[in-house]
C-alpha cells in the first residue's frame, strides 16, 4: 500500500489547482484504465486531506 502524506490546507489548495488529468480519445480498455487511474488519483487526493482521528463518517446523513 502506498503511504500518503497529509497536507496543510494551503498546500492542499495548490494540489487542487493543478487540476485533473484530461484523457485523450481512448479505446474501451484504455477508457477503463483511465477510469481506474482517476479513481486512484482521487483517492490519493482525499488521503492527503487531514482528517482528525475522531471524525466519524457521515454515515447516517442528515443536513
Amino acid at each position: 500500500m502506498t503511504r500518503t502524506k497529509t497536507l496543510s490546507r494551503r498546500s492542499f489548495g495548490r494540489l487542487l489547482a493543478a487540476g485533473p488529468m484530461i484523457p485523450q480519445t481512448l479505446s474501451r480498455d484504455e477508457e477503463l484504465r483511465a477510469a481506474h487511474q482517476r479513481r486512484v488519483s482521487t483517492a490519493e487526493t482525499l488521503a492527503r486531506f487531514q482528517v482528525p482521528m475522531a471524525t466519524e463518517p457521515a454515515s447516517v446523513f442528515r443536513p
Binding site: G13, A17, E31, R38, R39, L46, A58, R62
Partner: protein
C-alpha cells in the same frame, strides 16, 4: 392556444382554470400538441401520455365545475423526469437496458401531484442513469442528445435534460427533475429557467431511480421562483417509504419570508470575473448589481479549501456502482453508448471501503465547515454554471473550465459543497452571454430554508425579466 398562455406562470394558468375561462382539457391538449411537435426536435420527451393525461384533465375540470379546488396545481399539466415511476408507463431511466421497464406503482412525487390534481402529460428525457459513471457526451441518453431550445447546436444540460428543455420551450408549465450533483441547476441554467434543488430529505425519493442514497434530491424546474415555491409546497413532506425523509414540509406563505434587508449574502468577486467565461461576465456583473439594489448586505467570502469535488465524485461512484452492480456485470450493460460512463461505473466496483469511508469522513468536515459559514451569511451567491451551455457534440470532460489553474477558488465548488451538505439551492436566469445563450445565478441556503430562496428569487424576478424571455422555437 396563444404563445402567451404556453409561457404563462402557474398562478396565471390556475386563475384561468378556476374561473373556467379555460379548461384543463384545452390546456392539456395544447401541451400535448406542443410536446408532440417540439419534443422530437429537441430529444426532450421519453413518453407522451396523451390518454391518461386527458382523463386526468377531465377529472380536474369536473372538480372545477363543482367549485372544488384542491391546490393551485389542479388541472395544470406537467412533465416528470423519466426516473420517476408512474404506474403502467415505461420508466427507462434514460438507458437502453431499461427501455422496456414498467413499474406497477407511482413514485411518491407523482402520487402527490396526482392528489393535487396536476396532470402528468409526459415522461421527460434524461442522461442515462443520471450520469452516475461520469459521461463524456450529451448523447449519453436513450433519447439522443437533448438540444437547447435557445440554440439547438448546444446542449440542454443534464441530467434532467428533458425537464429543462420542455419548460424552456413551453411544452409544459413545469417539470420535475432530480439532482445528485448539478442535475437540476445545470439544465435550468443552460435553458434559462428557474430550478429549485430542495434540502436532502425534504422531498421523498420513493419510486425514483437511486443513483446515490446519500445525495439524491428531487425538485421542480419552472418558469419562476414563485412557481417553484408552489410546486415544492405540494411535493415536499414526510414519507415513511423513503428512509431519508426528514418529516418536514414546506409552507409557502410568502409573507413569512425574511425581509431582504436583514439578509447577508456571501459571494466572491472571482466567481463573477476570472472564474467565469468571458462571454458571461457582463451578465453576471449586471445581475450582481441587481442583488445589491434589492437590499441584502453582500459580504465577500470564500468557501474553505476542501476536496469537495473529489468527495462528491467518490461517494456517487461508490454508491452508484453498488446500486447498478447487477447491470454492470450483466449482458445488457454494453447497450449504453458512453464508454467513459461505463468505465466509471465498472471502476467504481473496485473502490476499496477505505476510499469511500475517507470521503464520508471528509464529508462530515464539509458539513461542519459549511455550518460555520452559515453563521456568517444567510445565503451564498455564485454563477449557477461558470459558462453557458456546451456544444451538442462537445466532450464534457475536455471542456476548459474558466480560471481552472488559478489558486484562488472563490466559491467555484459551491455546487459540489452544497450537494454534499444537502443544502437547498435556487437557479435564477440572469441574462445572456455575448454568444446569446442563457446564463444564471445560484443561491444556496441553510438546510430547509427554501422559503428564503424563493422569497429572494421572487424579488429578483420582479426587478428583471430574464425568466420571461422566450427561446426562438
Amino acid at each position: 392556444m396563444t404563445d402567451d398562455l404556453h409561457y404563462a406562470p402557474i398562478s396565471e394558468l390556475a386563475g384561468l382554470l378556476k374561473t373556467r375561462k379555460m379548461s384543463s382539457l384545452e390546456l392539456t391538449r395544447a401541451c400535448l400538441a406542443r410536446l408532440e411537435k417540439l419534443g422530437p426536435q429537441y430529444n426532450a420527451v421519453a413518453t407522451l401520455m396523451a390518454k391518461p393525461a386527458e382523463k386526468q384533465a377531465k377529472e380536474a375540470d369536473d372538480l372545477f365545475k363543482r367549485d372544488r379546488v384542491r391546490s393551485p396545481l389542479q388541472g395544470i399539466p406537467y412533465g416528470a423526469k423519466d426516473l420517476l415511476a408512474a404506474a403502467g408507463i415505461p420508466t427507462t431511466w434514460g438507458a437502453a437496458p431499461y427501455k422496456s421497464q414498467v413499474f406497477d406503482y407511482d413514485s411518491t412525487v407523482v402520487k402527490r401531484l396526482q392528489k393535487t390534481g396536476a396532470v402528468l402529460v409526459a415522461k421527460l428525457a434524461m442522461i442515462e442513469l443520471a450520469g452516475g459513471g461520469g459521461y463524456r457526451y450529451p448523447s449519453a441518453s436513450l433519447f439522443g442528445p437533448c438540444k437547447n431550445p435557445w440554440n439547438p447546436g448546444h446542449w440542454a444540460g443534464g441530467s434532467s435534460s428533458g425537464s429543462g428543455a420542455a419548460v424552456s420551450a413551453a411544452m409544459v408549465p413545469f417539470a420535475i427533475g432530480s439532482e445528485t450533483w448539478g442535475s437540476i441547476l445545470t439544465p435550468a441554467s443552460y435553458c434559462g429557467i428557474t430550478g429549485l434543488r430542495p434540502t436532502y430529505g425534504l422531498v421523498s425519493r420513493y419510486g425514483a431511480m437511486a443513483l446515490s442514497w446519500t445525495m439524491d434530491k428531487i425538485g421542480p424546474l419552472c418558469r419562476s421562483a414563485e412557481d417553484c415555491g408552489l410546486v415544492l409546497k405540494e411535493i415536499a413532506g414526510k414519507d415513511s417509504q423513503d428512509p431519508a425523509s426528514s418529516g418536514k414540509s414546506f409552507y409557502y406563505p410568502i409573507e413569512y419570508g425574511r425581509p431582504l434587508t436583514e439578509l447577508r449574502i456571501g459571494y466572491h468577486p472571482i466567481d463573477f470575473g476570472d472564474r467565469a467565461a468571458e462571454s458571461a461576465r457582463p451578465a453576471f456583473a449586471a445581475a450582481l448589481d441587481v442583488f445589491r439594489k434589492l437590499g441584502p448586505r453582500l459580504v465577500e467570502m470564500a468557501l474553505p479549501v476542501m476536496p469537495y469535488r473529489e468527495v462528491a465524485g467518490t461517494i456517487i461512484q461508490a454508491e452508484g456502482s453498488s446500486i447498478f452492480e447487477p447491470l454492470i456485470r450483466g449482458p445488457k450493460f454494453d447497450e449504453m453508448p458512453d464508454e467513459r460512463q461505463k468505465a466509471g461505473l465498472r471502476a467504481g466496483l473496485e473502490m476499496p471501503a477505505r476510499d469511500y469511508l475517507q470521503a464520508m469522513r471528509v464529508r462530515r468536515l464539509v458539513q461542519e465547515e459549511l455550518r460555520k459559514v452559515f453563521t456568517r451569511v444567510d445565503l451564498i451567491l455564485s454563477p449557477a454554471t461558470p459558462s453557458p451551455a456546451s456544444g451538442i457534440d462537445e466532450a464534457l470532460d475536455r471542456r476548459p473550465t474558466p480560471g481552472e489553474k488559478l489558486a484562488q477558488r472563490g466559491n467555484t465548488d459551491l455546487g459540489a459543497a452544497g450537494n454534499l451538505a444537502g443544502l437547498p439551492a435556487i437557479c435564477l436566469p440572469c441574462g445572456f452571454s455575448t454568444t446569446s445563450l442563457p446564463v444564471a445565478l445560484q443561491l444556496v441556503g441553510r438546510p430547509f430554508d427554501e422559503l428564503t430562496l424563493v422569497t429572494i428569487g421572487r424579488e429578483f424576478q420582479k426587478q428583471t425579466d430574464w425568466h420571461r424571455r422566450r427561446p426562438p422555437v
